[in-house]
Each structure stands twice: as C-alpha cells, then as structure tokens.
C-alpha cells in the first residue's frame, strides 16, 4: 500500500481482501466481548439454581459428542478454503456442504438437549442459572445457525459459478467466522459443562 510508484492502482478496489479481512477481525474482536459478557454472567450465576435443577442435569457425554462434531466442522472448513484457494470448485462445494451439515448436526443436538432440559424442569425462567445457561448456549447456537446460512449461501453461489474472492463475502471470511464460533464453543463447553465445582 505504501508504494510510491502506482498511487491510483494501489488504492483501487481490485484487491480489497485485506480490507474485508480487517473488518472481519475487528468484528470478531467485538464478538469476544459479546460472549465474554455472557460467560461472566454465567460464572456469576453458576450456583444460583434456586429450586430448579443445576448442572447435574447436563449429559456431558452427549455434549462431548456434539462438541466433537462442531470441532470436526473446523477441519472441513479448512479443507473447503484449501480447495477454494486451489480453484477446485467441486472440492469447495463438497467441503462447504460437509461443514454446513456438521453445523446443522450440532444445532440439532442442541435442540434435542434443550428439549431434554425443559422436560427435566429447567426452563428459561426457572432460575438465574437457567437464564444464563440458555442465553449463553442459545446465542452461540444462533451464531452457528447464521454460519450455516452463510455456508449455504457460499455453496449455492459456488454452484452458479459466482463465488468470488474480491468483493462481497468469500470462503475465507466465512471460514474466519466459522472458526471463531468453534473456538468460542471450546470456551463455553469448558466453562459450562466441564467446570462443575
């Protein structure tokens, strides 16, 4: 950017990938504070279970399995990005679809889990603990859902051959977002399910 030779060219919109990546990183920084506040809330209310059930209601085995599914989706995301960089349209499509599918599996697991909890007497308004739990995991699930929509959008753009790497969303940016959502889940899983003191 600081080249003195080609003032106009360096500045045009032809390669705006660094711009978009910068904005995405900034946005993810913002998301850290977003989830950080919810995690703080959960830690504060971890033991405020009132008359309702507490963390003994969790099925750590089940959630470990769905966490594994989500972590594997990061692998397929990397493969999708790799295929995209190599201009391998078919590979990109396959791995994008695989990532979306794994994400959907995770969400399905969360829906199942929430249903079980509600049947077990843990609703949104049961206690401060329950509210903090549902808010934290629910907002995370919402982020996964948005990620799945982005992945599907990438997938359909790719089938039409309109996948770009200049303007608009691209596989790399969706990948950044997706990995972030995964990493946040590692923190949430540890704090919510594993730290049961």
């Amino acid at each position: 950017m600081t080249s003195q030779a080609a003032p106009v060219e360096a500045h045009e919109h032809h390669d705006i990938r660094p711009v978009r990546k910068a904005a995405m990183w900034v946005f993810l920084g913002s998301e850290c504070m977003f989830f950080g506040s919810m995690i703080a809330t959960f830690l504060l209310y971890r033991n405020e279970t009132g008359a309702g059930p507490g963390s003994e209601i969790f099925n750590v085995g089940f959630t470990s399995a769905s966490s594994f599914v989500l972590l594997m989706s990061s692998l397929t995301m990397v493969l999708a990005h790799n295929a995209f960089e190599k201009r391998d349209a078919r590979g990109t499509r396959i791995w994008l679809a695989a990532t979306a599918l794994l994400g959907i599996t995770f969400i399905a697991g969360q829906i199942y889990e929430f249903t079980e909890f509600v049947n077990g007497g843990l609703t949104l308004s049961t206690s401060s603990f329950s509210g903090a739990f549902y808010m934290l995991t629910g907002f995370h699930g919402g982020h996964v859902a948005i990620g799945v929509m982005l992945l599907l959008a990438m997938f359909f753009l790719s089938t039409e051959g309109r996948l770009r790497d200049d303007g608009g969303l691209n596989v790399e940016l969706v990948g950044l977002y997706w990995h972030f959502v995964d990493i946040i889940w590692i923190v949430i899983f540890t704090v919510v399910y594993l730290l049961q003191v």
């Binding site: 106009v8 900034v26 913002s30 504070m33 949104l124 206690s127 401060s128 808010m135």
Partner: protein
Amino acid sequence: MVLDTSKDLATGTPKGIWSWLTTIDHKRIGLMYAVTALVAFFIAGFEALLIRLQLASANGTLLSADAYDQLFTMHGLTMLLVVVMPVGAAFMNYFIPLHIGARDVAFPRANAFSYWLFLFATVMLLSSFVLGGAPDGGWFGYAPLSTQLEEFVRMDFYSIGAQLLGVASIMASANFIATVFTMRAPGMTLMRIPVFTWMAVVVSFLLIFSLPIFGIGLWEMFFDRNFGTHFFSGGGDPLLWQHLFWLFGHPEVYVLVLPAMGIVSEVFPVFSRKPLFGYPFVVFSGIAIGFMGFGVWAHHMYTAGLGPVAEAGFGVATMLIAVPTGVKIFNWIGTMWGGKLRFELPMLFAIGFVSLFVVGGLSGVLHSVVPSDYQQHDSYFVVAHFHYVLFGGGVFGYVAGAYYWYPKWTGRLLDKRLGLWHFWLMIIGFNMTFAPMHILGLNGMPRRTYRYPEGLGWEFWNQVATVGAFIIGISFVIFAWNLIRSRKNGRIAGDDPWDGRTLEWSIPSPPPVHNFDEIPVVSHIDEFWHRKYATDEEGRSVRMPDVTGGTISSETATGGEDGKPTVDMHMPSPSYFPLVAAFGIIVTGYGLVYLPGGWVAVGVGVLVALWGFFGWSLEPVTRNGNHD
C-alpha cells in the same frame, strides 16, 4: 480527453430524494448524520428546557413526576446516543476518507446501512412518547427499576432502541477501522494521519469493545422483562447490570469527547499557523485514554458497596486517566504559544472547549477521591461535572468543527456576526446554567428529583440556571439560522478558506463525488501545508508561488497523450438495499417492544431484513458494466 466515468461523476451530481435515499457516498451520509443529530439536539434541548422550567422555582407544577422521569431519561439518552455520538460519526464519515486520501470508506453500503439503522432507531426511541410512554428509568437504566413491568413498554423501547443504535455503531466503527488501516494513500503512514482521524480510530475501537457488553446487558434486561428470566431480579444480582452498563458507559464518555479533542487538534494548528505541538504525544495520549477508559468504570459505583480495595484501585486509575488528558491540554496550549493566532469562529469555540473542559476535568478528579465522591454522588455537583465535560467539552468542540468545516461542506462560510452572537450567548448561557449546579450540588440538591421544597436555599441558583438554559437555547436558534441562511447567502469560501494544513483543503468545496482526482502521495504530517509552504534558512515558512490550493493537479484527471486514462475510477453504485435491511430490522424492533402481540411484526421484519441483506449481497458493487 476526460474519461467517461469521471465525466459523469464530475458534472452530474445526482439530485432528488431518491438519490439521498440510495446514496452510499460517505460525504452525503456524513451530512445526513449531522442534520439528524442537529434535529435531535433541538428535541433533547427542548426536553431540557422543560426540565429547567419545572425546577425554576420550589414546588414546580409544570410537570408530573412521571413526565419528569420520562423527560430526564430521554434528554440523557437522546443527547448521548442520538446527538453527540452521531455528530461525531458525521465528522468521521465526512473526513476520514478525505484525511487519509481515500475515495470512500471501506464498505460504502454498510455505511449507508449504519446510518439508516441509526435514523430508524432514533425515530423509534422518540416515537415512544406517543406509543405507550418514553423510557423512564434514567439513561443508565438501573435494575431492578428498569425490569419492573408496571409500565408495559417503556424500558423495552430503551433496551431495543439502544440495542439497535449499538448495532449501527459497531458496524460503522468496523468500517472506519478497516478504512483507516487499509485504504490510506501512498505515503500516508499511521504517524502522518491527522489527529482527528487518529481519535476516530480510538473511538471506533472503544465502541467495538464496549458496545457488545452493553448489548448483552440490554438483552438480559429485555429477557427479564419479557421472558421471566432472573438476571437482575428474583435471585439475580442488580449489581451485574451496573457493571455491564458502566463497562460500556465509561468508555462511552471518551467516545463522546475524543472526536471533539480531535477536532480542536485540527483547529489550533490552522489558526495558530504552527504545527500541532507534540503530535505523537497527542496521538498516544488519545490511545492511552482509550486503554485506561476500560479500567475505571467502577468509579460510577462507589456507593454500591464494592469494598475498600476495589474502590481504592478504581480511584487511583481514575486519577491516572487525568494524566493523558492533561498532556493534551498542554499540547493545545503549546500549539497556541507563540503562534500567529487568528480568532476566527472555529478558534473561539476551540478555546471555549479547552477552558470549559479543564473545569469539568478538575471536578472529575474530585470525584475520583472516594470519600469525596460519597458526598457528591447523585447530587447536582455530578450534573455540573458531566455537563462541563460533555457540553463544555464535547459540544463546543463539535460546534468548532461545524464552523471549521462548513465551508468544505457547502462552499460558503458561516456568517461571522451571527457566529459571534452564537459564541458569546452560548458560553455565557452555558456557565450560567451549569456553574450554579456545583453550588446546588454541594448544598445537597439531589439529581433526578422533579421538585424541591422551599426554604432550602436552592431557589436562586435554580432560577439562574433556568435563565442560562434559555440563553443556550437562543444561541442555538441563531446557529441553526446561520446554518440555513449561509448555505445560499454565505460568503464564497473557495477551496481553502483557512489556509488549512490537511488534505481535505486541497480539493474543491464541496468535494466531487470521487474526492480526489488523483490519489495524493503523502510525504509529511500536514501534507497540504508542505505543498504550499517551504522553509527558508531561518526556519520560517515561505509560501511557494505556484500552488494556490484547489485541486492538486487538474490535468491528471484527463488521459495521457495516447488517450489512455490514467485514472480508473469505479465509484460504487447507489443501492436501496441498506435502507430495506434497516427498515426490516426496525420493524422487528417494534415487534419485540410489543411482545407477545408483536411476534407478527418480528416475523415480517425479519423477512424484510433478509430480503435487504440478500439483495445487498447479490447485487454487484458497481453497475456501470465494465467492472472485472
């Protein structure tokens, strides 16, 4: 030979309502922010006048307690989130690209979306007065008062309205950061960008990191009110809200005042004909303020009972944050020292800023001392303090910016006689209104009470404050008249009326759509000054004869001799999708306020928003065909 695209851009500035609704030009968006903020300023100012009338005498009867609660809440909310923040955004939108030598911000359509969402959220907040009552729990919205459900929608308007304003601000901030870090002109290193733009970057980071915390607090409040959760009541801890709120609320204070500091850092060098004294100190002080701003939030909560260790720590941090602020004040004085001062209107307001901000800063240091703050907490002394900082500091700085840059916006100067009336009435009215509040506060008058009994000795100073408030009101009517009148009748300004130092003065007033015919190559701080002046052997500035301001080179926009264009401009095309998306979100917002009946509106709103976002993602950025 003039290139096709640039001919369109140079000659045919689009006109009409539709062109404003679909504009993605950062300059137009900046102006729309400014106009919206000015209108909101008059609304919030009117609310303040009603409050002052109520308090003008003991046992005031103008307002009921309920109306008073709504008015002081909305006065605070509107002034902070809908006036001062957006007026900062107005300047940032207009001048960040001009300062760094760019054609637009990084994401023009996201920029338009930020504005429309801000506008709709503003309308939503203000509409609450007639749609079930305005928020009445203070701009700080302390739980559990804010989670009570006696008034069905009021604090829902607060939680959703502020939430959406926050989303708009986060998007705008990400946009500004990406713009400054990736779109600077060649040679425009980080330590050459104008101080205003530096402060805009700091502000953007503050918003990026503080608004999500507020957002979570607002969601928790909303869940408590609508879904029966227990975040702040019924087993929850109201103190959590205070922490979440002030973790945002304190950085927010710097969000409001740092752009004003940036503006006066532009004004002082120009009207002192000297470079800014200690540019790196001013920049790094701003960054230091940004960092430390996240470590002092609990000084708003001394009386909440945090314990002596926490209070001592936050007290010391609060005293420390006065240091970088003080550094800046000395830098501004150092800039003026020995300069050839010209007391034009921007300079007067900038000096007003420094003088009044010092008063507010000093009373702020008093608050950092915990035992002293116990006495002042919730008294009018605090009201006096933050009005000196935010009005005496913030608003004076922004008005200085308006006088300074109005010629760039319109090509005409604001009338100096009216401007002098504005300045003197404003500074007199301001001190009449807020200086007495120090005395009232120390005499024990509490904040947020809608009336007070006779015989406490508060009547006289309250009357003075009320008279002062009306003088401020008159001064701003004069200002508004000046803004309207000078647009057609003001003196023609030319490109560079103040003998400016930064790049925005090197281009025409008002600037063309594409800003720069040729992207400048930068080699100095105060680049434009160095193009106009050389330094002789004795270190004095000597004007170079050949550069007279105006466009850097009018020839470069045309082709070379072989007719091959040297400038290849694809300005992004107008788009109505940002407007559609923002509209969808605001419909969703209204639906959330009126839950459970509002679920229908939520559904409709989400669909409209999705239409907007998908249309936005799928339309090409430029539609004039020859984009690769």
